[in-house]
Symmetry: C2
Subunit: 351 residues, 2 copies
């Protein structure tokens, strides 16, 4: 490791703020990297200080690459913050391909005036989430824009994963007769962020479900033969409704859900009613939908329920042949309705 340059004085992490110099490629930018980002993320690849990181892909694996921008507001919410979310969101995209996460990159777009203390707290949270997920932030970038040209901090993470050769999990693989599983109650993340944003207080705290799901995926895949898990997807923006419509479209199938089987926490249901929202349309950040071969459904469900992040997993419904690719739901009253793509007021900056 190279010796640190002798900065005139250390970054003032208590009272300092981001200024335009932190994005200008000079000494202040180098100091921000050294004293804030390197201290949070320290690892050999990052310590090299080059324009990129060098990594190895284990033999017998293909590469998976996924990217996600994160603009959530407020930046801190019950159960997480933009830093941990930026790790979980991208780790989950890699995991939904059936891959083991290898590494992350992080690109920060910072607004002039952002308190360094806040940035440090975000970086520490990212680093903790990455460590907990067993991945490192191996390379990064920082840009600074003037006041009013961004809102605090935006973080884009890109994830790399190792996919065993021969594994094929994707949205296009669902077949009629397959079973649809969900790892737990929906709506927690979106309602936690919205409640915080709107200053709503509920009797019972609503906490984001933000979590890295690759461990749960590994447990599910280990329980059944290769090929039995057809599709994995995390129902983030647009919620379960958007995710199921995406899968129906990709696989050219229909889906039939049982409304009574969809887990929703009572406080989330109550908050949705108050806010005029449908839990089916609300973002989750620590849940997954799985479509599995009929013969494997019990074993996958059992594996999910044995994992801390899948304890409340449920069998939601089935895949069926349908040239219209409709997602339909048997309602509690015994009727049947179409679950369409989310419509109505968008929920901005939820992730």
């Amino acid at each position: 490791m190279t010796r640190k340059p002798d900065y005139v004085r250390p970054l003032d992490l208590r009272h300092g703020v981001i200024d335009m110099n932190h994005g200008a490629g000079g000494r202040a930018a180098a100091q921000l990297v050294d004293e804030l980002f390197m201290r949070a993320f320290d690892n050999p690849a990052l310590r090299r200080g080059d324009d990129g990181a060098v990594l190895d892909l284990p033999p017998g694996h293909r590469l998976v690459m996924a990217t996600d921008g994160h603009v959530v507001t407020p930046r801190f919410f019950p159960g997480g913050d933009i830093g941990s979310l930026a790790v979980h969101g991208t780790v989950n995209d890699v995991a939904m391909m059936g891959a083991v996460p290898l590494a992350l990159s992080a690109s920060f777009i910072l607004e002039e005036g952002l308190p360094l203390a806040e940035l440090q707290r975000i970086a520490a949270s990212m680093a903790a989430a990455a460590r907990a997920a067993g991945v490192a932030v191996v390379t990064g970038d920082t840009k600074v824009v003037a006041r009013g040209q961004a809102d605090g901090v935006f973080i884009t993470t890109t994830g790399l994963g190792a996919l065993p050769v021969g594994r094929d999990i994707g949205g296009a693989n669902a077949r009629a007769g397959d079973v649809l599983l969900l790892s737990g109650p929906i709506g927690d993340h979106g309602v936690a962020v919205l409640s915080q944003r709107e200053g709503l207080a509920f009797d019972t705290a609503i906490v984001s479900d933000s979590a890295a799901l690759h461990g749960l995926v590994a447990a599910m895949l280990a329980a059944v033969p290769e090929g039995a898990v057809r599709t994995l997807r995390d129902p983030t923006r647009g919620g379960l409704a958007a995710t199921l419509n995406e899968i129906a479209r990709q696989s050219a199938v229909g889906l039939l859900l049982d409304e009574a089987a969809i887990p929703v926490r009572p406080q989330v249901a109550a908050a949705c009613e108050l806010l005029g929202l449908d839990p089916l349309n609300i973002a989750n950040e620590g849940k997954l939908v799985a479509i599995v071969a009929p013969a494997a459904a019990d074993a996958v469900l059992a594996a999910m329920r044995a994992h801390p992040l899948g304890m409340d997993a449920a069998r939601l419904g089935v895949v069926q042949a349908d040239p219209h690719r409709f997602v339909q739901m048997t309602t509690r009253l015994g009727g049947r309705r179409v679950v369409d793509w989310p419509t109505g007021e968008p929920l901005p900056r939820i992730c």
Copy 2:
């Protein structure tokens, strides 16, 4: 490929603008991806429509990962735009590690109200730059923030490259006695962007040098034995001054340049004088610095000059032992001065 959903009507690419629905994960978001991004970037990995892309790493290679956020303003400038720059910047970071670029991801943060026509033009420019560089944009993400919460469009690209096992090129590898080469005149990109921003007109147009440098790197590496090229780096933000100070710091060496050897176009020198800037501190987006073993310097320089992007390559100076890790320059008047990290007014949003 799955059938497109039947959108009520196609995106209005002539008069439409980004609205919050385009970021909400519903039908409008899917339509934006289908009708704008997919049309620009179309490739098998992206067409899969999953949360990530699956790629293969050629045998005998390690992985390189690099990421860069792009916030340049104005978004269109002589010689490029934020789209082509987002491709070149990241391809070059991968190339500076000695790796062959394999794929890119792209994450867009869009401001409500951005004209779709402008976004389409940017995506088309990105796609053209990626095709020209022989890489594909294999996965992406789009977020939308409200008016005033971002400035038009920010693009983070992440690049993957294949690095032959045994190759080690990095900022820490310079040794006393090595030779410092530069691929061409400095300052073009930064001055082109600043001139456009300030509405300055010069007798001779100043055009950004934005270009993908992996072809030039391949030609240089092919000309000499493995190990002879120690360090490659593109002098972007902070210009040649910041880049050389970074290398001196990483390698714990000094550098001695010859001012008269540094190529600067006359119109760039004139513009810098007018703007009160030092060309040494100005960003480049299509130039590289190489530090090479003394015995290899002539062959590398000849290979650079034989390539269209290195025709004006020059031998700038030498690496020397120096515990202070100073970058020094022999001036045209025969004196010697320290080339420090850039100081003074930062040049915001140049890349």
